[in-house]
Symmetry: none
Subunit: 203 residues, 4 copies
C-alpha cells in the first residue's frame, strides 16, 4: 500500500463504495420483501436500476454479494446489541429481546443467515469474514456469563444461548396458522423465557 492516496483515487474509491452500498441496499430490500429464492441477480439489478452485468463489477459472485449483505446486517445487529449491553439489568433478557427483535424486523438478515447456516459446509467456506463478526457476537454474549464460570463454560453457554435464540426464530417466526404480529410476540416471549432460563440456570 502506498502511504498516501491521491485524493482523486480516494474519491473514486469512495464513490464505488457508495454504489456497492446501493446494490447491497437493494438486495437487502428485496430479501425483506420476497422469499429467498425469488431474489436473483436480475431482480436485484432491476431494483437498483442497473443491468445485471453491472453487479459483477462490484461482486465477483452471487454468493459474495450475499455474504456482504449478511456481514453488513449482522454488523448492525452487533452494534445495536453492543449498545444494549451498556444498559442495566436484566441484561440477558434485554440482549435476547434485542437480538430476536432485530432479526424479526430484518427479514433480509434472517433469510440470508438461514440460507448460509442451512447450506451446509459448501456454502460455509465463504463465510470467513462473517465468522469473525459472529465471534464478536458470541464474545458479547459470553461476557454476560462471568460469575464463577471457567472461560470454557461461559463460552459454551454463550454458544448455547446464541443457538437457542436462532432456534426460536427459525422454529417459530414462520409458524403457520397465526398472524404475523402474533408470531412476532410469541418469538419475543420465547426469547425472554430462554434468557430467563439461562440467567437462572446458567450458573
Amino acid at each position: 500500500m502506498s502511504r498516501s492516496e491521491s485524493p482523486l483515487v480516494k474519491l473514486r474509491r469512495e464513490e464505488k463504495e457508495v454504489r456497492k452500498g446501493l446494490i447491497l441496499d437493494a438486495a437487502t430490500a428485496l430479501f425483506s420483501r420476497l422469499p429467498f429464492d425469488q431474489v436473483g441477480m436480475r431482480e436485484i439489478a432491476t431494483e437498483v436500476g442497473i443491468s445485471p452485468a453491472a453487479i459483477y463489477r462490484y461482486f465477483s459472485d452471487r454468493d459474495e454479494l450475499f455474504v456482504e449483505v449478511l456481514c453488513r446486517e449482522v454488523e448492525s445487529v452487533y452494534d445495536r446489541l453492543a449498545r444494549v449491553a451498556e444498559g442495566g439489568e436484566p441484561m440477558l433478557e434485554r440482549l435476547a429481546t434485542a437480538y430476536v427483535t432485530c432479526l424479526t424486523d430484518n427479514r433480509a438478515l434472517f433469510q440470508i443467515m438461514t440460507y448460509f447456516m442451512a447450506g451446509g459446509e459448501i456454502r460455509a467456506e465463504r463465510l470467513e469474514r462473517f465468522n469473525q463478526i459472529q465471534r464478536r457476537l458470541l464474545d458479547l454474549f459470553q461476557r454476560q456469563f462471568p460469575g464463577g464460570h471457567s472461560a470454557a463454560r461461559s463460552r459454551l453457554l454463550a454458544h448455547a444461548l446464541f443457538a437457542s435464540l436462532n432456534g426460536v426464530l427459525i422454529s417459530f417466526l414462520n409458524y403457520p396458522g397465526r398472524e404475523a404480529e402474533e408470531r412476532r410476540s410469541h418469538v419475543v416471549r420465547l426469547a425472554k423465557a430462554v434468557a430467563q432460563v439461562f440467567a437462572q440456570g446458567g450458573r
Copy 2:
C-alpha cells in the same frame, strides 16, 4: 364415505400405501446421502426404479412428498423420545441428547426440517399434518416441566426448549472449520448444556 370398504378396494389401497412407502424410503435415503439441492424428482425416481412421472400418482407435488418424509421421520423421532421419556433422570438432559442425536444421525430429517422452517410462510402452509406431530412432540417436552407451573408456562418452556435444540443443530451442525465428529460432539455438549439450564432455570 361408504361405511365399509370392499376387501378388494382395501387391498388396492394398501398396495398403494406400500408403494408410497417405497418412494418415501428412497427419498429419505437420498437425503441422508446428498445435499438437499441434489435430491430431485429424477434422483428419487431412479432410486426407486420407477419413472419420475409415476411419483405423481402418489404425491401431487414435490413438497407434498417432502412433507411426508418429514412426518414419517419426525414420527420415528417421537417414538424414540417417548421411549426415552419412560426412563429415569436426568430427564431433560436425556431427552435433549436423544433429540439432537436423532437429528444428527438422520440427515434426511434435519435437511427437510430446515428446508421447511427456513422456507417462510409459503412452505409452512403445507405443514398442517406435520404440525400435529410436532405438537405431540411439544407435549412430550411439556410434561417434563410439571412443577408448580401453569399450563401456559410449561407450554412456553416446552416451546423454548424445542426451539433451542433446533437452534443448536442449525447453528452448529455445519459450523465450518471443524471435523464432522468434532461438530457432532459439540452439538451434543450444547444440547446437554441447554437441557441443564432448562432443568435448573425453568422453574
Copy 3:
C-alpha cells in the same frame, strides 16, 4: 445384455434413434447455412421444432451432439470414398477430388471438423469415436501407397496426403475476394495437383 429384446422396446429404441437423427439433421442443415458460432442449442431446437430442453434427452452435451454430427458426416464421406476406391485409375486423384468435393459441398462437416481440429487438446478428448472413423479413412488412403513402401512409410504418406487435403480446404475454401464457384474449382484443382504430386513423388 439380454440375448433378445422385446419388440416393443426395440421399436421405442428405434423411434428414439429416428428422433435423434432428426436433431442431427437439423444441426447439419444449420451448419451448412450459418457460421459455426451462430449455431446454438436454441437454433437447432427451433429448426427441429422442439424445445431446447428436449435436445438434452438425446445428447448429454452440446459437444456430444456436435461430435455425433461429425461422426455421421465423416462416415458418409468414408462410404463415398470407399466406393470411389473401387473404381479405376488415377486412384489418388479420384480419391482426393472426391474428398474435397464432399467437404466443399458439406459445409457442416467442414465447419465442425475445423472446430474440433482447431479446438486444441481439450476438445480433442471427446473425439475418441471420431478418431476410429478417421483411422479407417487413413487406412483407405494408405492402401493407395502400396508399392515397395514399408508400412510405416505408407502410413506417413497417408497422413501427409490426408493432412494436405485438409489444408487445401482450410486454406482456400474461404479465400477472400473470389466467387464461391471460383474458390470451389480452385480447391479441386489444388486437390488434384496434390494427388498427382503424391502419385509421382510418393514412391
Copy 4:
C-alpha cells in the same frame, strides 16, 4: 496526403505506433500462453497495463487487432523463410521444416491463423492486408518450382504446398492421445515428407 509531415505530427504518429506495438506484443504473448478463447480484450488490456477501452484508440475492432497480430507474426515468418531460401539444397525440405517449426513454436500465430481460416468468409474479408503478405510467402514458395513449369503451374504448386503444410499443422498439431513433443516431431516428419513428395512429384 501532405507531401511532408511536420516533425511533431511524425513524432506523435511514431509514439502511437509504439504503443500499438506494445498492445500487439501483449496479445501475442497471451496467445502463446493461453487457448484462443481465453484471450479477450480484458486480458490483453491487463497484460499491457491499460484499460480495455484504451485499446479501441488503436484498433477499431477486436478482429482488427487480431489481424495485425497475424500480419506481424506472419511477416516475421516470411523473413525467416526468406533467409532460409538463401541457403542450399534440399530447398523445399528446408523451407517446409522451417515453416512448420515457426508455426509450431509460435502458438500465437498458429491460433490466430486457424481462427481466421476457419472463420469463413465473414472473417476472411478483413484479411486484405494479410493476403498481401501471404502472397509474398507464396511467391517465395513459387520460386522453388522453376523448372520447365509455366507460371500458372508453379503458382498452383506453391499454393498446394503452402496449403499442405497448413494442413499438416492443423490436422496433427493437436492430435489427441500423444505427448506434445511427439506431436511436434510427427508434424515435422510429415512436413518433410510433403516437401520430398513435392520435390519429386512437382515437376
